[in-house]
Amino acid sequence: MKDRIDKIVFGDNQFFGINHMSQEKAQQLAEKFFDITNIFKIYNIAIEAGIKGIMLNSNDRAKDICNFFRSDPGRYDHLNWYPSIPYPYKYANLVAEKGIMPAINEVMFKDNNASGIANMFFKGSQAVLSKDAIKMMQMLIDVEMKIFRNLNVKVVFLQNIITDLLLGYDIKIVFEEYCNYIERKYKALPGLITQNMPWLIGKLKEWKINNVVICTSFNKIGYLMSPNVESYIKASSFNKPEDYQIMAMSTLASGAIPPHEAYSFINNQNIQSVVFGASSAGHINETLKLIKI
């Protein structure tokens, strides 16, 4: 199989004050990693422990993190990058404040200079644009992906809030065009993050869209797994990795499942990769020992 993904990928939620179980824990983490050098320290520990793949969301701090890795190519050139785009809250807050189209406008043209052609295209006529959501999506992808320039991008993931929103609309063309664009422009594998893995796989099969990496919550208690854990086990057991490589996230259900118990479940599933986040050397090394997929 071409382009096999890393079996273990290091995630980023812990760095950005994200915890799906407790706002208090989230706050503690945000405090710990306010100083970005603490983030770099943890990355170095993970890399020394053998991590070769890094997933990073295109949020406000991703730029500095990418600059750090670009600054020492000799040391970090071997890493595979798994960006996830976009940073949803940036859009959510802007949309709440300004409305959908002004928000998109601002993202594309205020802080970033998308290509001159895109700029002209957009400003020239919103009416033309309205007929081409695909073009707009491509321009937004380009804006987000600028952060990751010159890094070895293996997969570009679409965040679950967007994947699942589009999945609900049931429109093939957007998924098809997303995947084509990522392959063509970024020479990377298209990736989709979802909380509805069995549904998504069913749809991708129906639409004959293959060779996609699917990143999805996968844990023993079924947390953030719609419709339920049984459907996930079934969908993954019937899946051929040549069609869809599955990367499990939220394997500990934000800390609700003890690591040992969590991975003895995960190790028995037909999945190709695990993305995990940890904020100390102890947790990183423990997790690396426990994952045996």
């Binding site: 004050g17 994200i18 799906h20 179980m21 407790s22 706002q23 208090e24 989230a26 809250y89 959510a92 807050n93 949309v95 709440a96 404040e97 300004k98 409305g99 959908i100 189209m101 002004p102 919103q126 009416a127 644009l129 309205s130 007929k131 959501a133 809030i161 699942d164 929103l165 589009l166 999945l167 609900g168 609309y169 049931d170 429109i171 063309i173 957007v174 909380q195 509805n196 549904w199 208690i221 079924g222 947390y223 953030l224 797994m225 719609s226 419709p227 339920n228 259900a253 934000s254 609700a256």
Partner: protein, 355 residues
């Protein structure tokens, strides 16, 4: 109407229309479209850019005007996701046409209209629901269960808070959001959730007092509000809501309840409960107990933005299909929340400003 309901139960799908394809309209579209008994048939949206895009990519009819949609698409049910000042005329028309209605919060831009709509729907076999989504959150439902079952004893005091980083700088006036008469401002758009949570857990207060508003960044609407609620049984509570708080990554509700037998502190993701004595029925011990969302969540068939968003729309459908008898956030519930909001504004105008 009964005939229609009967028809749906057998073969036909419920024909749903989305009225207003803004942020909530497009989210609700995706969620309810996953329901096997629902067919989204039409969308009303005045913006040519948005409706052009819907037309191109989605298999639905679009209309500039909801009146035309009602005439031509003849929906069984609508999701009203327009600016709040339009809710009244849309729902009134829907009522004439015998249409089930889910309306985003706030219910309406003023209390008088909310009252009239509630009265209109009260005697009809039509489902009516307001989008106060916290009523479908698993943690807040657990809090209600504890309160209703007397787990923390006689209630004395509560605090309902909500924070977000929605408005974090001075912006030019933009549409309905910068006008209270149109349903904009932190009280209608955000505090309504914290106030409805009070209504859901404790009911309507007898008196609203000590209300104050802060105009932090917005010129014509408030960005923060606090108020005190008094109850006949001696219970008192406060609310504090601020949508200009950059320390919050996403909107967060917090509720704290003090009772004679214990105390509860909860947000959307977890609940801490302190008890003076063990509670065997709920397997809670004396002292602090923590319950996380991971311990109590109910899975949903399709996830877009949180289990509660799916649960509330699937509940709406279940009510239409007669699978549920009573709606968990009907117009009459939304009306009470609206009445509390009105009292906060009245109290602020009378007592909340320095002369």
């Amino acid at each position: 109407m009964l005939l229609i309901i009967k028809g749906m139960e057998t073969k036909n799908k419920i024909k749903v229309a989305i009225i207003g394809a803004g942020r909530m309209g497009i989210t609700h579209y995706s969620i309810i479209n996953s329901h096997p008994d629902v067919l989204i048939d039409s969308v009303a949206e005045p913006s040519g850019i948005v409706s052009g895009m819907i037309n191109k990519y989605l298999p639905v009819k679009t209309f500039d005007d909801y009146n035309e949609l009602f005439e031509k698409a003849k929906p069984d049910a609508i999701l009203v996701c327009t600016p709040p000042n339009l809710h009244y005329t849309i729902i009134k028309k829907a009522c004439e046409k015998g249409i089930h209605v889910f309306v985003e919060k706030p219910f309406s831009a003023n209390c008088k209209e909310a009252k009239e709509l509630t009265a209109l729907y009260s005697n009809l076999p039509l489902v009516n629901q307001v989008g106060y989504v916290n009523r479908f959150n698993d943690v807040f439902n657990k809090v209600k269960e504890f309160i209703d079952n007397n787990v923390i004893g006689k209630l004395v005091r509560f605090k309902s808070e909500m924070f977000s980083c929605t408005v974090t700088g001075r912006t030019e006036n933009s549409g309905w959001r910068s006008s209270r008469t149109n349903g904009g401002g932190a009280v209608f758009e955000m505090a309504s959730h914290a106030i409805d949570l009070v209504n859901f857990l404790f009911g309507k207060p007898e008196k609203v007092t000590g209300s104050s508003l802060n105009f932090i960044f917005s010129r014509d609407v408030e960005d923060a509000v606090s108020s005190t609620f008094l109850y006949n049984n001696g219970m008192t509570g406060t609310i504090y809501v601020n949508w200009s708080d950059t320390s919050y990554r996403k909107p967060t509700n917090k509720i704290e309840v003090f009772g004679l037998a214990g105390r509860i502190i909860a947000d959307q993701l977890s609940l801490k409960i302190f008890l003076n004595a063990d509670n065997k029925k709920y397997n809670l011990r004396q002292g602090w107990n923590t319950i996380y969302i991971t311990d109590i969540f109910n899975p949903v068939p399709f996830y877009v933005r949180g289990n509660e968003f799916t649960s509330q729309l699937y509940h709406f459908v279940d009510c239409i299909l007669g699978r549920e008898n009573s709606n968990r956030c009907s117009f009459s519930d939304g009306l009470i929340t609206h009445e509390i909001i009105s009292e906060i504004f009245n109290d602020y105008e009378k007592n909340g400003k320095l002369k």
